[in-house]
């Protein structure tokens, strides 16, 4: 905390000279050790704000742990996800024999199943975020940049996707394509989710293309592609990154819904939604079968959303730090 105060003190004493022409002259009384004010770059400002966002920082730690656990599931899980111990059936959560989340009625260790389930869910979430961000950004960028009939066609296309009853389409697509594979599920979800980002990026590009620095770039001979992807895209990274993190959570939840309904990832591969569905029949007696994967799901989604929040706050230049 003292570090924080020290860092802030110069700011309250005198506004930092942005040009940085003669930084040392402005602060006569400051101790020599930290008298110099360094002009902060965009990135430094962003990092400062983000590091101060407590919920986001906690979430990053938790999510990193979850992701690592999912990646190294074989090492982390005390049992295999399909390993049956006939002697340990229906055990409550306990540290004994490392059944942290208890076992199900077949005697499978639920902690291990949840860890492997996280792997599936995160895979789907990450894949959907990646795909939908790529597609949405490109389509939104082209529509917003060229306007006119290009915009009209692309936007009617996104409207079309937007008005589809999502769940019904997902169920049909999963049934037709076979939802068993998390990669396939990821592609299907991405095909529906890219529209939000396309609209956001289109809006950003519509306003960016009128900026003077875009005209200046044009006047210096830059071509369309260069202007779009080198000059305008970096200026719209804020909303894109934030949207991508939020999509991770949405995708994980939809995948869980699909699995819960039996159309998502197929057994024996565990997924968080499928685990909740499995436990449903025994919920009144073996509550941990629903609660444990449910809590994990909530934890993942909360973390991702908090990180998205933190990113949004940090990337928003209009939001000033409060001292």
């Amino acid at each position: 905390m003292t570090d924080d105060l020290r860092a802030r003190a110069p700011e309250t004493a005198a506004p930092a000279p942005r040009g940085g022409d003669a930084p040392s002259a402005v602060l006569p009384a400051e101790e020599a050790g930290h008298a110099e004010i360094l002009a902060r770059s965009q990135w430094q400002l962003f990092r400062r704000k983000f590091l101060r966002h407590k919920a986001a920082m906690v979430s990053i730690v938790v999510l990193t742990a979850i992701v690592l656990a999912a990646i190294f599931a074989e090492q982390v899980a005390p049992y295999g996800f399909n390993e049956i111990n006939v002697l340990d059936r229906g055990i409550r959560p306990t540290v004994e024999n490392q059944h942290f989340f208890g076992t199900d009625r077949l005697g499978r260790d639920y902690f291990s199943r949840v860890v492997f389930g996280m792997r599936t869910s995160l895979l789907v979430g990450g894949l959907v975020a990646l795909l939908s961000t790529a597609v949405g950004t490109v389509i939104g960028a082209i529509a917003g940049f060229y306007r006119g009939w290009v915009d009209a066609i692309l936007m009617r296309m996104t409207d079309l996707v937007l008005i589809l009853p999502g769940l019904a389409v997902l169920l049909v697509a999963a049934a037709l394509l076979g939802g068993g594979d998390p990669i396939k599920v990821g592609f299907i979800l991405a095909g529906l989710i890219w529209v939000q980002l396309a609209r956001i990026v289109r809006g950003t590009f519509l306003s960016l293309r009128e900026k003077e620095y875009i005209e200046a770039a044009r006047a210096s001979g830059a071509g369309d592609l260069r202007i779009m992807f080198r000059h305008m895209l970096p200026n719209s990274m804020g909303p894109i990154i934030v949207n991508a993190t939020l999509v991770v959570a949405t995708a994980i939840l939809i995948e869980a819904t699909l699995s819960f309904l039996g159309f998502g990832v197929q057994p024996p591969r565990p997924a968080l939604g499928a685990l909740i569905n499995d436990g449903r029949s025994a919920m009144t007696t073996d509550w941990w079968l629903v609660v444990m994967p449910g809590l994990t799901l909530v934890a993942i989604c909360l973390c991702v959303n908090f990180i998205g929040d933190g990113l949004r706050d940090a990337l928003d230049p209009t939001q000033q730090e409060t001292v």
């Binding site: 942005r18 770059s41 965009q42 620095y213 200046a216 044009r218 006047a219 210096s220 260069r226 080198r230």
Partner: protein
């Protein structure tokens, strides 16, 4: 006389608006000769900027449209070039300095990169060479500590510094023509002088012809060799800078000069131009200046007949029906001001 490097002929640029078509540039012609500085003056909305935007092909279409004329740059008609061909001219043969340095640099890219990019768009320059050349350019335009400044973002630059950066970007490819669109309007007076100095230096270094767009007559007096005065989308007077300031042959030019405060003389009072700049949607009939004109006094001919731009002296042209009465008008204004109008240039 040498061939002009840029020759604008009968240019008409119009914009479609909900209230009708606006002729922002209405049959404008002027030439720019190699090495000279041409000053273009006029009020806001007189078509100064739209003319040069048309030259660079930067008029948004729609709603804009160039419906007539030709723009000859080194003999080639820029209006007939394809987009790809035009792109090779922009930034390479014609450099542009924009009005507001605060908004003309991309906030998320390093200033050095933006200048280097201006080079790399047009030629296959390796990154390290572009960097060295950019640092040279930054030094040339007087950015101190150029090495470190290269890696900074626009918000770390002051206004004057940014305009220096913009000038560096404009001359990066040693253009043959430099267009400065009100380069000092957004800057402090003290910084203005510095930026003008840099602009002159940059011009010397590259020997580029320059179009200086401004509504500051002082700037024109100091920098320009020849002057084009625009009003309501038309050229109303052109001539070399001394002629324009000493013997204006258009009442609008005279009005501009006599409304200018002077440091070197004790003026009784300034003489403003009465009325408002014309609305381009509804331009006055005949001579667009007639409702505000002292000389015309609402004469029939002024209201009905648009005056052509005619020769009134050596390389001096004016668009007024009654140029021969200007001598009397000047005397009148001088008596009102209590001083001679000439001598604005230092």
């Amino acid at each position: 006389m040498t061939e002009p490097i840029l020759s604008i002929r009968d240019l008409v640029t119009e914009f479609a608006t909900p209230d009708g078509t606006v002729h922002a540039v209405d049959h404008v012609s002027y030439d720019v000769y190699p090495g000279e500085t041409l000053g273009v003056v006029g009020e806001s909305g007189s078509g100064k900027s739209v003319t040069v935007m048309s030259v660079l092909g930067l008029i948004p279409q729609p709603p804009g449209k160039i419906s007539n004329g030709e723009i000859l740059f080194e003999g080639r008609d820029l209006l007939r070039l394809s987009n790809a061909q035009l792109r090779k001219v922009r930034g390479k043969d014609i450099g542009m300095v924009f009005q507001d340095p605060m908004t003309s640099l991309n906030p998320v890219l390093k200033v050095g990169h933006q200048i280097a990019e201006a080079m790399q768009v047009h030629a296959d320059v390796p990154d390290d060479k572009a960097r060295l050349r950019t640092i040279e350019l930054l030094e040339l335009v007087g950015v101190p500590n150029a090495e470190a400044r290269y890696d900074q973002y626009p918000h770390e630059y002051s206004g004057g510094m940014r305009q220096r950066g913009m000038i560096a970007m404009a001359i990066a490819n040693e253009p043959k023509l430099l267009i400065a669109d009100e380069p000092t309007t957004a800057l402090d007076v003290t910084i203005q002088a510095q930026v003008l100095e840099v602009l002159s230096k940059a011009k010397e270094e590259t020997n580029a012809a320059t179009i200086l767009i401004t509504h500051d007559l002082g700037l024109i007096a100091e920098m320009a060799d020849r002057v084009v005065v625009m009003y309501g989308g038309r050229v109303v007077e052109t001539g070399d800078v001394d002629t324009i300031f000493h013997e204006p042959r258009h009442p609008y030019t005279l009005g501009l000069i006599s409304s200018l405060p002077r440091l070197d003389q004790d003026l009784e009072r300034l003489v403003p131009i009465e009325g408002q700049p014309p609305s381009l949607i509804n331009l006055p009939s005949g001579c667009a200046f007639h409702p505000r004109c002292h000389l015309g006094q609402g004469r029939e001919r002024c209201r009905t007949e648009s005056p052509p731009l005619v020769e009134v002296g050596t390389a001096h042209r004016s668009a007024c029906h009654f140029t021969d009465e200007m001598g009397r008008e000047i005397a009148l204004i001088e008596s009102e001001m209590g001083t001679a109008i000439e001598g604005v240039d230092q």
